[in-house]
Symmetry: C2
Subunit: 223 residues, 2 copies
DNA sequence: AAAGATTCATACTGGTCGGTATGTTGATGG
DNA sequence: CCATCAACATACCGACCAGTATGAATCTTT
């Protein structure tokens, strides 16, 4: 009778991924100790090297299977919203409010990994770039929809604004690590919210104008 | 007569600091190899430990004597300028234009160190926080002066704007590491420049309204 | 139930790194 | 010219860590 299977390879693998993610979040990838991961997960080295070919492969899997969904879930509301500015402002407020002291101290795993690994490992760089591209493309698309609906000013370049927004968030979270309090992050986020508000179209604008007219202002870069 | 002294302790120390800075920039602090620093500097381990008590102490010295002046020099123009927005825009353009491929790939040493070391070493954290505080305070002061002179909108909070600006710069430089090209950084910087432009006061505004400054629009304050 | 593959456990290896112990050389003051 | 100390040089140590070799236990298939 095995009500509980003695072997659960999928669960072992998932536990490994989660513990590796936490250890990488605390220490970074290179300083992440396999022994520490094994101890916190209760898994042995033999099991780890059965599921992952190397520490690097484990890191790649963490990026793809933990970091990527984590970023996507956080920004899904903006991509799905009718008014992307309202949604973005809400996400920013949520981001500062619910952020634990632990998260303030150790920052954003995504940003941490880019800073640490992108210059020295192509595998990390490509995967992290792909996540960044998707994130940015999502914001760009949301802004284009917002411009078509007349809720976002038509004279802003979505590509630039998206890069700027992401930069300010990751920069703010990263720099906040040098402070004990969350004052810096909150302050930076207030600046971002002000900026987001400045992106709103004038309430009197005609939505159809921005959507249908292609030649009004030649600021649309790529179409 | 010794035209060239065989022993130059000050020069040895300085060489060590510079080589350590470069190695830390490439590899981060923890992965920075003392052996690599010794090889690139042509100094032996005995000399290093004569000048610095430990690798950590060497790292602290790099922060104080290389990183801090480097940040201060980059932003000095903004603090000294009559119109801080003009100066900030100029610095941003300069920052993207002159940035070498090496700097794109390895990012900003200041941001790198905060991300890597602040959560795990109080000595680094305090020193880096101090640099960030000074940087931010400089921008705040420049903006206050700009508000007093009527070149900066009076309804923006300088503390928030300064944190936001610094965050977007460091975030942009950091995220650009995940890309091969400098497109992301340039795009983010265009977003920042747009934001900076939005901070300009309406040209018709009365400077005296923002603060009790008697001089209306004199550009000769700092000779 | 036997065979074979999957999943996990343990002990060990080679290499790197920060740090130290100890010796040597050059500068300096009397 | 000697004494003394600062400035450097060399050899070595213990700790840690990623990775491997080998074997045991468990599951699946036939």
């Amino acid at each position: 009778m095995k009500t509980a299977a003695r072997r659960q390879p999928d669960r072992t693998r998932q536990t490994l991924l989660e513990c590796a993610f936490e250890e990488m979040h605390r220490s970074g990838f290179r300083a992440a100790s396999l022994d520490a991961i094994l101890e916190s997960s209760g898994v042995t080295k033999g099991a780890l090297y059965h599921h992952f070919g190397s520490k690097t492969q484990l890191g790649y899997a963490v990026v793809e299977e933990v970091v990527r969904p984590w970023i996507e879930a956080a920004w899904r509301p903006v991509l799905d919203a009718d008014n992307c500015i309202d949604a973005a402002v809400a996400v920013c407020r949520e981001l500062t409010r619910t952020r634990s002291a632990h998260a303030i101290e150790y920052g954003c795993p995504f940003n941490n990994l880019i800073n640490e690994m992108s210059p020295i490992d192509e595998g990390f760089r490509k995967r992290l770039q792909s996540i960044l591209d998707e994130w940015r493309a999502g914001i760009v698309e949301a802004m284009r929809r917002g411009q078509a609906r007349g809720v976002v000013r038509a004279d802003v370049a979505p590509e630039d604004a998206a890069a700027f927004i992401i930069s300010s968030i990751e920069g703010g979270v990263g720099l906040a690590k040098s402070k004990r309090s969350r004052e810096f992050l909150e302050s930076s986020m207030r600046g971002l919210v002000d900026y987001l508000e400045s992106l709103r179209a004038r309430s009197g604008a005609h939505p159809a104008q921005a959507a249908a007219v292609p030649a009004a202002s030649s600021k649309t870069s790529k179409g």
